[in-house]
């Protein structure tokens, strides 16, 4: 699978939280050949089912893979007229980093898609106290070079605005672009589904591209409730190492996916994933979270009677900017790890999770 090409398609397709129609359509087309059914639910998540290919329990156990497809974006808050031209005032959707919004290219999803730039007064024309600070959203505007009449007829308050950025190829099989958080994980799930075509598995796989993670983990809560899987894995990005980054919560780009430990993660699930990676001789990192993980796992975990949940994370630099960077290799590895893990799921898996046998087995091995 050409992961660069995959990421190019995925990252360059708009999908602001709450307006995931376009990205959902792209993912649906990508996953269609690998799955048996595919639907969208009321909140916009895309839910694909791949039936078990090896006889086991009836009905089969089910594992849910959740990778959110939404991205941080902007929304039109007001339309302003100046000398006959129309400008847009905006508000952020999700954790948009205000230090890097000025100067970006955007697409305004009005009656039709319109390209614009995010402008602001030059620093020297701003009040002194604002000159060396990140921008206030109140000072930013979107300029499409259009007369106010056109703006008023094409755009209304509440329209979504997505960032526009082509995927850049960097050296050493790395790429930089927008919304690699979390299209890198969508790509990993795609790799996993492709790998499973040649493999047999007794568990049913529910692959979900969740909606509105960046705003409230919406899709994680609702899909896990509706699907009621026996186990779940959230696939998301984590902080990559780089100059100035600290040692303890960051991971080398190209150093393999990170497996998360912390309150949102079932340690049995973590151990099983780690054991799979070791069998594959696949390099992994271990990361920790102390409270909420900031991923879909937080929502998946408490749905219904609770779901044993794990997190597989892809190291990424410059999170929530237009130059988010990942190593293609990590995406591919995350996908392979998921596939291998699913192939290894058997009838005894849940029992082992419940009793902690898995850890004992591991100990006796070592």
């Amino acid at each position: 699978m050409d992961i660069h090409k995959l990421l190019k398609t995925l990252t360059e397709t708009p999908g602001p939280s709450g307006y995931e129609d376009q990205i959902a359509a792209v993912i649906e087309e990508l996953w269609q050949p690998y799955v048996d059914t595919i639907t969208r639910d009321r909140v916009g998540s895309l839910i694909a089912t791949k039936r078990a290919t090896k006889n086991g329990r009836t009905p089969p156990r089910r594992i849910l893979l959740a990778a959110h497809m939404d991205e941080i974006a902007l929304m039109v808050r007001d339309v302003e007229e100046h000398n006959g031209s129309g400008f847009l005032r905006v508000t952020p959707i999700g954790g948009v980093d205000t230090r890097q919004v000025f100067g970006q290219l955007v697409v305004v999803h009005g009656r039709k898609n319109l390209t614009g730039v995010i402008g602001c007064l030059p620093a020297r024309m701003l009040p002194e106290e604002k000159q060396d600070k990140p921008f206030d959203f109140e000072d930013l505007l979107v300029d499409m070079g259009l007369p106010i009449e056109t703006v008023n007829s094409q755009i209304s308050i509440g329209d979504f605005i997505s960032f526009r950025q082509p995927l850049l190829k960097l050296m050493n099989k790395r790429v930089a672009g927008k919304s690699l958080d979390n299209r890198a994980s969508v790509a990993a799930v795609t790799v996993c589904l492709e790998q499973l075509q040649q493999r047999q598995h007794t568990w049913e796989v529910i692959a979900v591209a969740t909606a509105q993670e960046e705003t409230r983990l919406l899709g994680a809560y609702t899909t896990a409730f509706a699907v009621q899987p026996d186990a779940a894995i959230a696939i998301d990005v984590t902080f990559g190492k780089g100059p100035g980054a600290n040692e303890h919560v960051t991971h080398e780009l190209g150093g393999g996916p990170a497996l998360d430990l912390g309150p949102n993660v079932h340690t049995g699930m973590f151990n099983a994933l780690k054991a799979t990676a070791e069998e594959m001789e696949l390099n992994i990192n271990i990361e920790t979270h102390q409270r909420a993980s900031g991923t879909d796992a937080h929502g998946l975990q408490i749905a219904h009677a609770g779901i044993p949940t794990a997190i597989v994370a892809i190291p990424l630099r410059y999170m929530h900017t237009m130059v988010e960077s990942v190593a293609l290799k990590d995406v591919e590895r995350a996908g392979r790890l998921l596939a291998e893990f699913i192939v290894g799921l058997d009838e005894e898996f849940l029992g082992k999770l419940a009793t902690g046998v898995m850890e004992e087995e591991k100990e006796s091995k070592s």
Partner: protein, 330 residues
Amino acid sequence: MNNLIKKLVEAYGPSGFEDQIRALIWPEIEKYADDISVDALGNLIAHKKGDGSGLKAMVAAHMDEIGVMITHITEEGFCRFTNIGGVYPHTLLGGRVQFADGRVGIIHSDRITDRSKIYGLDKHFIDVGATGRDDCPVQVGDAAGFHREFVANGKMLSAKSMDDRIGCVVAIEAMKRLKQTPHDVYFVFSVQEEIGTRGAEAAANHLDPDVGIALDVTLTGDVPEAIPMAVSLGKGTAIKVKDAGMIAHHGLVQLMKKRASEASIPYQLEVLTGGSTDARSIQIANGGAAAGCISIPCRYVHSQSETVHADDVENSIKLLVELLAKPIEL
């Protein structure tokens, strides 16, 4: 309609203490519902049956209001208190509260030594006229709502707890006017919205609706030095696109716009940067619902003179009826 508004806004009902306001709403809707029930949290749920061809819709307007709760009574008989919901100290001085038994207390603060400062809630007290702890008729744990008369300045309607009794009025009026609907509609007069949309959360878990519509107030950008916001009083009902707690269902927003245009109902689009509503809870309940909000623009929210415009109220009712009377395609 002003009589109904006056009756509801002047009633007592801080979050968690909604018995009295529920007892007032019940007889107003009795005739128009197929079934009425009260759940364990105190939500008043009125079911209007559909013809079987539509969706299950939950409409939520919260009955509760912000208020205070007594935490301590001083030896001299003054009542210290904490907030129930978003009560801000700069709205309090010289104001009045009413307790469940109708007793009224006066709010003031410790001696102000620096007039440029706003004192915290802990520096305020309520004077109910007691001379000491022993004859103080109020107890620790007693809750009070604000006490303020309804005023109509022409079409500008001011009172305490317009948030969200005006939403209750919209729901009640819509129930009266909605003769037929394809949808199974559950009108929920919810509890405990002001402390985290708790009533709606329980009701949505129980009802499991396909569509959720909250009726609540929203802020406006039309007063001096207001937050930048393209919503004004008197310019129409507000269709929520986004607030601090959720992004409304895109398809539902488009449908609301369409229904408003078809029926020539003036509307504004709401992008609210602070606060949220019951719709936030409905959206994420169970397997999720298409959630949105018909908002009533309101000035001075969470003060004792929350102000709405009669035309916006009327247009909100009209839009809700239009929406519920016709098919909902998302």
